[in-house]
Every structure is written in C-alpha cells, then in structure tokens.
Symmetry: D3
Subunit: 246 residues, 6 copies
Amino acid sequence: MGTLGDAFLARQRLLVVAPHPDDETLGCAGTIARVKSLGGQAYVMVVSVGGITQHGRGAGGRGPGFVSGPERRAEFDDVMKFLDLDDYEVLFDEDALHERLDTVPQRMLIEQIEYAAALSLEKLRPSMVLIPARIYNQDHAATFRACLAATRPASAGARYLVPNVLVYDNTTAFWSVPDEWFVPNVFIDISAHLDTKAEALRRYSSQVRPAPFHGSPEGAQITAAFHGGQVSIAAAEAFQALRLTW
Amino acid sequence: MGTLGDAFLARQRLLVVAPHPDDETLGCAGTIARVKSLGGQAYVMVVSVGGITQHGRGAGGRGPGFVSGPERRAEFDDVMKFLDLDDYEVLFDEDALHERLDTVPQRMLIEQIEYAAALSLEKLRPSMVLIPARIYNQDHAATFRACLAATRPASAGARYLVPNVLVYDNTTAFWSVPDEWFVPNVFIDISAHLDTKAEALRRYSSQVRPAPFHGSPEGAQITAAFHGGQVSIAAAEAFQALRLTW
Amino acid sequence: MGTLGDAFLARQRLLVVAPHPDDETLGCAGTIARVKSLGGQAYVMVVSVGGITQHGRGAGGRGPGFVSGPERRAEFDDVMKFLDLDDYEVLFDEDALHERLDTVPQRMLIEQIEYAAALSLEKLRPSMVLIPARIYNQDHAATFRACLAATRPASAGARYLVPNVLVYDNTTAFWSVPDEWFVPNVFIDISAHLDTKAEALRRYSSQVRPAPFHGSPEGAQITAAFHGGQVSIAAAEAFQALRLTW
Amino acid sequence: MGTLGDAFLARQRLLVVAPHPDDETLGCAGTIARVKSLGGQAYVMVVSVGGITQHGRGAGGRGPGFVSGPERRAEFDDVMKFLDLDDYEVLFDEDALHERLDTVPQRMLIEQIEYAAALSLEKLRPSMVLIPARIYNQDHAATFRACLAATRPASAGARYLVPNVLVYDNTTAFWSVPDEWFVPNVFIDISAHLDTKAEALRRYSSQVRPAPFHGSPEGAQITAAFHGGQVSIAAAEAFQALRLTW
Amino acid sequence: MGTLGDAFLARQRLLVVAPHPDDETLGCAGTIARVKSLGGQAYVMVVSVGGITQHGRGAGGRGPGFVSGPERRAEFDDVMKFLDLDDYEVLFDEDALHERLDTVPQRMLIEQIEYAAALSLEKLRPSMVLIPARIYNQDHAATFRACLAATRPASAGARYLVPNVLVYDNTTAFWSVPDEWFVPNVFIDISAHLDTKAEALRRYSSQVRPAPFHGSPEGAQITAAFHGGQVSIAAAEAFQALRLTW
Amino acid sequence: MGTLGDAFLARQRLLVVAPHPDDETLGCAGTIARVKSLGGQAYVMVVSVGGITQHGRGAGGRGPGFVSGPERRAEFDDVMKFLDLDDYEVLFDEDALHERLDTVPQRMLIEQIEYAAALSLEKLRPSMVLIPARIYNQDHAATFRACLAATRPASAGARYLVPNVLVYDNTTAFWSVPDEWFVPNVFIDISAHLDTKAEALRRYSSQVRPAPFHGSPEGAQITAAFHGGQVSIAAAEAFQALRLTW
C-alpha cells in the first residue's frame, strides 16, 4: 500500500478549494504535506477571506468578537508558506461577501473556479481536486455546489476535465441531515505528517478553540486517529471520492 | 412510558421555531400543550409574518385572495395565548420578506436565531429546540438551514449548545424527493391534547381549508391518529431527532 | 404493454417544464413525439432563454464563445415546430437572468408555473407534468424546486392538482452526490421516435457537441439504448415518478 | 384524473403476491375492488399459510394462542370470494414453512413465482404485479426478494417481462431502518371501496386486533384517509413504483 | 443537560442485546456504567457464545488460533460482574451455532428475544432496548433483524411495546455500504466512565488487539473522544434512535 | 489522466471475485485486459459453477433448458485463457450449491475468500479487489456480503488488509430498490479493450442472449459507451469504491 500510494500521490498536481482559510488545513493539511514531501505539487484556492464579528469570540471566549480580514489573510499566508504550497489564491476579500456567498450568483463562483481565477481548473489543469463537504454553513454549501458545477463532465477537447474529484472531511460534517452525511471511501495515510497538520492549525490562532472542541488541534488529531484506526494505521485523512478516472 | 415521558417533558424548556404562523401548531401544538400541562416551559419563534396574495383564497375558494400581515399576526397572538405560551416572538413582519426568505442572506437568519433575537438560543438557553422540516417551500427550507447552522456544535463555554434538536412534522412533508423524506423516530403522546390542537388550528381562520385537505383540522387529527397507531396509542405527534444529548 | 401504454399516453395532456431550450429535447423528445403521434397533447414551458458567453465554445471549440439569446430562441422555435407541440412558452428572456435563476426569488418562479404563465398549471390543467432533474446547474436546481412547490398538494377545488408528476432524465444527472442520484422508475418506449429525437437535438446547432460527449446526439442515442436495454426494448426515455394518481 | 385512472385500471390484469393471508387485503383490497368494479382482472398469490402459536393471541388477548392453518385458509377463501378475485392460489401450506420462509432456498420461491405456480408470471402474464414491502418480518423479506428476482429484466421473447411492478403498503412498513422506509409515489383512489376493504379485514377474524392498532380495520381506514389527504381525496392506497413501462 | 440527562437515565430499565460477548461493552459499557451509577437498572442478553478458530489469533498474532466457548463465557461473566449488571443471559452456547446465526430460522431468535428468554422483552419489560448495528458480520445482521422484529409495534395490551429502541455503535460499523452507514443521533456523556469502559474491554483478554486497531481499548477511547468532541464533551457513546416514545 | 491511470493500474495485483462464470467478464473484462496489457497481474475467483435448468433457455429460446456444470466450466476456462489471467479458481462446483449460496453458512464463504482458498486474500495479498454488486440474485447477494466481511478492517499484522476494495457493475444492477442502487464513482478507460470484452462475452456461448438484452455483447458495448460518455471517453467500466487506501 505504502509504495503504491506513494507512487500515485507523488505524481499528483493537487488543487484544494476551501471556502475560508483553515478549511483546507482541517481537511487536507496532512495530505498536502505528504504530496509535497513525495515531490508532487499542491495548490490552494480560498474563496473568501473577510472580517466578521463572531459570537463566542469576545473577551473570555464569550460574546461578540471581531476578527479582521487582514488578520485572517496574514494567518493564511503564514500557513501556506509553512505547508510549502506551490501557489495559493484568494478569490474574494471583501468583508461584504464573507459568510454571505449564498447571495453571490452561483455562476460567478463557477466561472472563477472553472476558468477565470489564476488557479482555475482550465489554467492549472490539476490531476486531482479536493472540494469541501456540503454542510450547514452557507459559504461551504455554495462552494461545494460551485465546485460540482465546475468539475462537470465536459466535451473532450472543449474544456479541461479533472480526472479525480474528492470531497474532503470537515470536523463539523457530521452535523447534518442523514442523507447529507459525509461517508468517506478514501483514506490517505498521514501518520508521518500529523504534527505538521496540528502545527498548521495552531498557526490559525484567531480560529483556535480549546479541546474538546471537534475543530481544535487536539480534535483534529483525534479525528485523524479515528479514521486511521478504521484502516489500521496511526493517522489518516478521510475523503469521499465523487469521480476517479483511471 | 407515560411516567418516564411525563418526567422528561415536565423538565423541558422548549423552543419551537416556525417559518410562518400556524406551522408551530400543525407540527407541535399537542406537544406544547402537554409540556405546559406538565409544568414545563414552551416558547415560539416565528420567522416571518406578512400579507400575501394567495391563489385559491379568493371568492368561493378559487382565484387570488389577499390575507394581510396584521390579520395573520392577530390570529397568531390569539393562538399563542390559547396555548398559554411562556413567550413568543416574530422576527420579521415586512410584507416584502414574507415568502421570500430565500432572498435573505442566511447569516441574517442565523444570527437572529443564534443570539440576536429576544428568544435566541443564547438568551433563552432552551433544553430542546423543535425545528421545521425541509420542504418545497422556500421559507421552510431557509428556516431549516438557519436552525441547523444555529444549533451547530460549539466550543464548550463559548456558545450555548442546545442538547436536544428535533425536526417536527408538517402535513406536506411527504411531498418531497425520496432522500428528503421525513422519517420520524420520536413519538410524543398527545392523546389528551388532540382537541386543543384542533381548536388552535381552527383559530387560524385565514388558513383553514376543508377536509380532506391534509392541513385541515380534520387532516391533522387523522395524521395524529396515524402516528398514534404506529405506537399503539390514540394520538401522537411525530419528530425526527437530529441530536439528543443525555 | 404496447397497447396499454399507448392507451394511457394517447389520453395525456402533457406539459414539459425546461430550464433552458434543449433540456426538454434531451429528456423528453421521444415521449413528446410518441404522445403526439398517438393523438395526445404536448406543451413545453421554458423558463429562461438568454445570451451567454460559454467557455469551450470559442474558435476550434475552446475558449470563450458567445451565443445570443435570439439565436437560441430561434433554434427553440424551430424545434418546437419540428416536434409539433400544441403550444410552447418562454417565461424569461432577459440575458441578465439567464444562468442566474438562483438569484430570482423562488416565489416568482412558482407563481409563473402555478398560475401566472400562459401555460401555467392552473390555466392548462395538464394531466401529466415532466419536470427537470436536480443537478449541479443552478437554473436546473431552481426550476426543479419551483416545480415541486407548484405541484404541491392542494385543497380540492381551490387549486388544480396535477395527478401525475415525473422527473425527466438529463445526461448530466449522474454527476451528483449519491443521495441526489437520478433513479428512474418509469420507462417510456421511444423506439419508433429515436430518429426524431436525434434530429431535434441536431437542430439545436449552437448546443451540439461531438461524440463521445454524453449530451451529443450520438450520446442521447446511446442513453436511449441503455435505458431501453434495461427493459428489453430498443430505446427508452427514463423518468422518476414523484406522484402518480390513478 | 378519475377518467384517466379508470381507463388505465380497467384494462389491467393484476396480480398481488402476498406472504400470508390478509397482507393482500391490508395493502390492496381497495385497489382490487376498484379494478374489479371497472371490469379489470385481479389475482392473488399467497406464499404461505400455516398454523402458528402467536404470542398475545391467548385468552384475554395475552399469552400464547394457536391459530391453525385450516382456520386461516378458510378465512382466506372467504375473503377471496368476497373480493370476487378471478383466481387465487397458495404456494405452501405446510406448518413447518410458515413464518420460516427465510429457511427456504430463494430459488425455490423464485421458480414458483416466475413460472412454476398456477398463477406464475409466465402463465398468467399479468400487466401489473403488486409485491409486498421489505419489512422486519422474515417471510415478507423473503417474498419481496423473490418477487424482485422473478420480475428482473428478461431477454425479449425468452421470458415474460412484467411491464408494471409496484410495492404495496403495509401498516408496519414504517417500522424499519430509515434507508428501507416505504416511500410511496403512486396513489390509487379507493374512496368508493373503503367499506369493502374494512369488511374484508374484519372477515380475517383470527387476525383482527382492536384500535388503535395500526393493522386494525379502523387503523386501515385512518391510513387510507391519511394517504387520501396527501392527494386531496377521501381515501387512497399508496404504492411505490419500481418499474412502470409505457 | 447533565441534570436532565441524569434524571432521564436514572429511571431507565435498560436491556442491551449483543450478538457475542464484548459487543455490549464496545458499544455501551459507558452508558451501562452511568445508568448503574445513577441508580437505574441494566441487563445484558448475549445471543451466542462459542468456540471458534479465528484467523490471525495464532502464535505471534497470525494464522489460526482457537478460543474456546468456556473461555469466552468466563470473560463475559467477569465483565458482567465488573460492570455490576442486574442480570445477564446467554441464549445459545453451542459451538455449532456460533458465527452461524444466519443458519438459524429468524423466528427462533425473535421468539427468544420477544418472550421466551429469561430476560425477554415480555418478561423484563425494559424501558429502553439497545440493539446492535447491522454490519457485515452474519451474527450481527441476524441479531439486528431479530431485535427489529421483536420490538415491532404491538396491539396495546396484547404484547409489551418497548418505548425506546436505539442502535448502538460498533467500531466496525463504518465498514458498510453507504446506505447502511451508522448515523448517530443520540450522544450519551460517558466522560466519568471511560476508564471503566477501557478496563472492561481489557478484561476480554481473548479479544484484545493492539492499537491502532479500531476495536482495541485505545481505539475505543479515541472513538469516545471523537463522538464526545462532536457535542463538546470529553467522551460520549453514540446511538441511532429508531423509536423513542415520550 | 492516461499516464497517471496507466501508472496506477500497471502496478496492481488485481483479484476479481465473481459469483458465477461470466460475471467477472460482464463487469471487469476491459479492466482485466488493460491491467494485463500494462504489465500488472490479474486473478479471478469464481464462487460457484454448476448445472441448472434455466427458464427461457429451451428450444427457440423459451421454456426450460439445461446447461451443465462442465459446459459452463469449459467456457470459463476458455475465457480465462483468452483474457490471459495469471491464475483463476472455482470455489464450489457442486450442482446442489449452484444458485443456492443463500443456503450456505456465510462463514463458509468468508473463510474461503479470507484465507482458505488458493487465491484467498491472505495467500494472494492483492492490492485491489473487485467484488460483485448486491443484486436481487441470491448468489450475488451472498457473495457480496462475504466479500464485505472478508475485507473488513483488520488488526495490523494479524490479517492482510486489502487497501483497495471496489464494487463492479452488473448490467442488472439497476433492477433494485433505490437505496441499493449502484452509484459508480470510479471510471476505468477500456476504449482500447472493448473488442476484447465483447469477444470474451461471446465465448460464454451458453449465456449469450440477443440484443437488446442488457447483458448481451451488444448491451455490454452500449453500457461501456454510456459510462464512457459520462467522462467523455469512448468506453469505460464503472465501479463503486468502498475503500481506497493511499
């Protein structure tokens, strides 16, 4: 497995699409680190960065607290460099759009992902795209739908068809109606990269919550151990393959 | 069962979130009445009340007929008093938003339910929240999604985490794609409160339709008898538990 | 089967609702042709026609290419006449709405389909409505939802209740999350009308792509042979019945 | 609807396959009565009749009580005559097999239904087959699976392919895991035949339980009113179409 | 939550049905310990204990190794005492049936669980039954189906109807087809009883495997932390409610 | 895609498990041929070969016709050689078991697949296992369940854990209840091997049916074109990945 998996991942040109900074790290930091360590390429496209007043982020961890767009952008830049991405991009950085992607025409998101953005599918031509899970969050749902449209089957020669499309995990993906449950079918061994993932999460300091929160660095380690145990390895990231073309 | 169920319900602080007036009664009037009769607390939050021209509400029950916002609001006030609610609230009463919650940014709904409204989760801290089913109606769908987001898992101490979240029935919940079908797993005995429920429905006089319409007072009684028969009691309201925390 | 199916289809007053021109043909041209050949009635309501710059439609089949609204409208008129429809209608022909139906309040679409349009359910009173599948495309999703709302159960006498509601196939309906997969349960024999369907598709010349694209005329023939083989006939169109009332 | 539904049902040659006597009546007596009243044909195939000691059937309705095979067979004959079936058949009448169809090789059941029995698909060539829902009961599950196999697609000319296959309701079909839930998509108007259905159920005197039991004659009437209300008619039987071929 | 949950659990008369010894501990040991510590009652019914040659249990943890029935029975007795069960029972202890419950007529299992066994539903009249998940293992699948049949709705007065039926988790429940996935909706706080659970697992010494195996004591702790994190507590056991009656 | 897919497939050690001869060819002949042509290894394990009287196989293609076990075995040997398998095996060749695998204890099948057979997982240690879809046929269902059990997660070091487990298509996989529908997520390009697949099917002369039967050689070509069109290639075999470990 190790050898075959290494060989397969080493040749990938990976694009991770994330609604907001830190989603790519919660879901795929271990896989990104492994692909990079094997000599593959990895790119991240974040849809929206912006400032927002969040409840439960005030003094003492309660009440309203404001985190600015530039603050989150700086954290993102730091983590992208820490994870040694080949390139990364933010599509929208207006505060007015942040956490309001449900008000953006879907077509506008689709066009960016499909061909307009610097790291669009048409320009980057990735071998594998990792897209976010549908969850209760309106930005995640909008990004998921836009990714699905952008990776739709194409007439050969007219558009670039991404051969491998997978949904990545989210520690809140379980909070859903049963028919939208995240059911993984791909497990990527990140045993050698779990520390890197935890460190990347900690660098998103405006987003860190204490254990036992599912999205805390400790929670991410438990999740990796949980999915690892499902395939008898120390740590894994889990994915749901929508289309693999071999 | 009776004794255990009584003990459990008697201690609840119940919040019902309804897209429009009468949804809370169609789905939960019997449960509200039972909780109140046992000494528990019950609250209702309605998202939108407004005037609207409805087809099939004109003269003779056909063609366009207008029902005003104040008319529906008065019916709602009357029923809330009849059911002896501890408190109730309407989030939006502009005609322009009524039946158009799909045009409201989801975040605006979520913030209200989560912490901004008078009966928000953060302020009321209910032990149990009853949320509407996803159905074809755009306001119901928007309210369902917003409730799901507002009840998402929280970092302990930072936000209030509602321990019990259930979806309540809707007599039109069957008109759906199979994967969104309403599949109840909680049955609450309302045998002693069925008359109260029927009376509350009749008080929504602008909304009453004649039998055999599923949403008529007679239709609601048949639905209660149907779900009661499933657990061998005279009448029940059915719910789909999404998260119970014991 | 032939005899019973013929008798059933011959008496139908069929309405096909399509997001854009050519969707009705990809999904139902064979059924339309058969119903017409048997003496039944068939109508088409298209929600949106507009001009759009499509990627992969430029010179040599790559890069951006513009197809205007009038151009698509002319193709649509031609096909409607070729298929001998009893009547047809386009709800919206503004470029600004085309491929942006997710920005239109759902209620506006529902009202058109339910009672406002010339071929609305209330005016046409069809015996059978064929509605588009939910897919990744935002206009298809919006149209599907609006059709579901417009065909909701009604109080008898107040609104027209369509007895038969079916979802028609789309050659991209497979590109979906598993829980939204198109699962057909009705197969209509179009063996005698497959050539008509292929010709109608070719007349949408701005939309034709070469084989092996799933939506090419050849792809549609393979799809018809595939579904036909499932019931041991030469060619079939597949549908998912949501409600049949007998 | 009435006219079209009547015309469609009047021409059917209907076969109902039931695990045990009374299942066909609980699920389809109204439809059988309507098809017969319209001049169509109706047949019933029961898989197993046998004697059994049932818990809760003893003195006073509690503890063990024995109902013999001949007793149940006599009830069945009486009801078949009351419903005026064109013909009916029992496949197995050994006590040793009754409630133990899970121990019978599936192939043995399939062969009977497919071509060996007097009313087999190959001999009767029905236009429509109504098969039982998968439920917790082992005989129902075995019969459902055998019916599915017997109605599988066939090479044209080699075997008879039943054009219309539907699953009929069962008042216990709701007691299931969510993914096996009975989701009806066909509603047959039995308003004029509800009394006939209730009378047929009462004639199965060994099986009658008092209300509010879901399977009591009163329970069946509530279920019919419930499904009727879903399509705004007085009473309906509900079915899940698996394959309709037109 | 704590107070309400404590009050609810303290009054339960709990029955856990397990296919084999240790399944009840993997899924419910924390809940059993909590119910007992609160003054409630807890019972365990194991369906089969027997000797078996297991692959991967030989010398060095590879190849065939035999574990005898009496050996497993002794472990079970020890754990039952350690967890302070009010009573417990083994239905079948023949080696010939162990791991072969798919060859036992379902009716035989159902009768035992329903009324024949010492701890049957009819005799024990539990307020809550915890049943095993459907998984790939034939004994688990058979036990799940038998429990579903034994807890089916009953005519009031004739049979005992268990008000609360839940499926408990299994660390291999994820290895399944997507539609049979275990989707929990009840979370029971076992933070104070996690050590007890781990110790109970270790006492099943013939069944202990080393980490990172999902079913190891360490794996069970990770699973409890994983589900705990989903509701922001330290450790939880997860359940899927099939029927709660209040 | 081609290059990456070739590299991935070239290194596989593939095991196909088939209920009966020709299932492996209908589902995977193109993939087997491609893996072999790339230098990979491919093995086939058939569970049962036997003689059987099939309805619709008599004179003129109707009525009963007998095909003997040795006849089917000879066809199988011929195809295995034609496809150049590295090795192949038949587990059971008794007529009494053929089409009756539902009467075999599951454990007996599991043991064979897991470690007892010559090509068992433990002995062969395949990198990828292709298992049959659950369908109405009892032998397919039994084989599917046994494969699921045999590939269950294992304690590292104790048993061999197959990293990649996929379900292969079956031209009758569509004849199922909606929740058991075959939903492919892996597409393997067999454009260069479609003729080989058709020829292999024709060599199973006792099983060949004429078009438009879904399982005819022509039907298999249409199915391959249909799935190919979904990813814009000429021909593909479709699979449902249950577990991929990279």
